[in-house]
Amino acid sequence: MGQYLPVVAMLVLAVVFAILSFAASKLLAPRRPSAAKSSPYECGIVPSQEPPERFPVRFYLVAMIFIVFDIEIIFMYPYAVIYRDLGAFGLVEVLTFAIAVFASFVYLIANGALDWGPAKRLGRRDPQMSATRTTTSTVRRVGLEGRPAGDEEVAA
């Protein structure tokens, strides 16, 4: 257990360093909050939509599949340390295991679970290019709405 003493020491030192930096910044930095500064960054446009609440299912699939591969990799470590003692028997064990994992991998790929990028919409019009969307509708969204008149950021 003593081998971990320096790791703990490093952890403490790193955390102390970060906390001290935060404290120093709190003492030295100015605090002049304004509505424009504390609103979410939208490249200068007033936010009109909430952040997306739903994401492509593929992100969950990646996280899920990573668990599987992570466990498989973890099993390889004890084997890699003692493969000499296990000999041919160990090789067969690991190969059996790897074949099972590889089979699931092939299944994943064949099902397109790891394909990224949008499916191309053949022959259907993109709703973003609809005729109802005009210059006025776009410009209205980039306007000054939501900002107090005479705000210092606008003036500057």
């Binding site: 081998q3 320096p6 360093f17 030295l28 979410p40 952040p51 340390v81 790929i109 990224w116 919409r121």
Partner: protein, 397 residues
């Protein structure tokens, strides 16, 4: 096998031992921090050179103190917290990015004499110790554990900002880091296989003087580790996290002042740590010939030289390679690197076991190669099936 561990800490731990540990901790900490400072300068200077610019040249000789100047400035900058942010998580997310870098660096052997019969142990104040901060028996796994903790910093920073671009950036980043961690882990298994130990100093000892894992494992794991290491760092060409043309600044968008600086620091710190890990795992760490003077100093010199190579390589990548598209990135990780590293690992295992059992190495390699080619064929068939399904789906849309 070598049951490693720092001899300093395997016996009774008294006050002197604790003092040495504190000294070593402070030194390692300072080394990494100063190294990071110069790394930022180095990167800006080299990228400047490669782009035919001068780069920083105002603060100090050759602009060496530029990072220090920037660091001091950042303390005087306002630290904004967006109103929609989850305040607690937003405040402490930079910590989660930085601390793993420090802890990973703790297990890197920095200096020492690794010539035959030596195992890098030196004597300080009558205590025998390794010239690395910590040498837990599971050192390599500690590195992997820290790289999986580093995902949290990015993920929580983006989510807690309560803003679009950071959220998108952090989702991309975490999926990317998680994907490449698998390839990273598999290529490290190859190193463990040939070294027979999980301790970092044991891995270095096993490589001394010229049995570098770079060629003992057959280059492929090294290349995979280098690529997935770059992806883990979110550095170019894998910097989709902060692809400024589409995501502003990725997960850091809402950060300012000291909290932004800590993320920035963590990024460069992680670059140094990752280079140090590559040197340890594949290039024999501080081992090398001793020419004149005490051997441990030569260890330090060799270590720093090897480190410098990889620092330059990372900067070079940044200046040279265009950014990947997200689907290309994921395809490279999942469909190329993971199967390749798994296949190579199994081939290496088979050859090694054949060596122990006295099989004909040529035959083993041939059979292994045939099996791998068959597996590759299967994979290609699977990809074709996926593409066909996709086309069908696109026609239905």
């Amino acid at each position: 096998m070598i049951f490693a561990g720092d001899p300093l800490l395997s016996g009774h731990i008294d006050l002197a031992v604790v003092a040495i540990v504190v000294l070593k901790t402070v030194l390692t900490f300072a080394l990494l921090l100063v190294g990071t400072m110069f790394m930022v300068w180095f990167e800006r200077k080299v990228v400047g050179d490669l782009q035919n610019r001068i780069g920083p040249n105002r603060a100090g000789p050759f602009g060496l103190l530029q990072t220090l100047a920037d660091g001091v400035k950042v303390f005087f900058k306002e630290d904004l917290i967006p109103e929609q942010a989850d305040r607690v998580i937003f405040k402490y997310a930079p910590l989660l990015s930085m601390v793993p870098a420090f802890i990973t660096f703790a297990v890197v052997p920095i200096a020492g004499d690794f010539r035959h019969g030596h195992s890098g142990v030196v004597s300080i104040f009558g205590h025998r110790t390794l010239l690395q901060l910590a040498d837990p028996p599971i050192g390599v796994l500690l590195v992997l554990a820290m790289s999986s903790i580093a995902v949290y910093g990015v993920m929580l920073a983006g989510w807690s900002s309560g803003s679009k671009y950071p959220l998108l950036g952090s989702v991309r980043a975490s999926a990317q880091m998680v994907s490449y961690e698998a390839a990273l882990g598999l290529s490290v298994v190859a190193v463990v296989l040939v070294s027979g130990t999980l301790s970092t100093s044991g891995i270095v000892s096993a490589q001394a003087p010229w049995k570098w894992n770079l060629w003992v494992t057959g280059v492929v794991p090294f290349v995979i580790f280098l690529i997935s290491g770059t992806a883990e760092l979110n550095r170019p060409p894998f910097d989709l996290v902060e692809a400024e043309q589409e995501l502003v600044g990725g997960y850091q968008t809402e950060y300012s002042g000291i909290r932004f600086a800590l993320f920035y620091l963590a990024e460069f710190m992680n670059t140094i740590t990752m280079s140090a890990i590559i040197v340890t795992l594949f290039l024999g760490g501080p081992s090398g010939p001793v020419i004149l003077g005490p051997a441990w100093i030569w260890g330090l010199i060799w270590f720093l030289l090897k480190l410098l190579i990889f620092l330059f390589v990372f900067v070079w990548f940044r200046a040279t390679l265009p950014r990947f598209r997200y689907d290309q990135l994921m395809d490279l990780g999942w469909k190329a690197l993971i199967p390749l590293s798994l296949g190579w690992l199994l081939l290496l295992t088979a050859v090694r076991v054949g060596d122990v059992e006295g099989w004909n190495p040529f035959l083993v390699t041939m059979v292994g190669a045939v099996v791998l080619v068959a597996a590759y064929g299967l994979l290609v068939l699977a990809m074709r099936a996926a593409r066909r399904n996709r086309q069908l789906a696109e026609e239905l849309l």
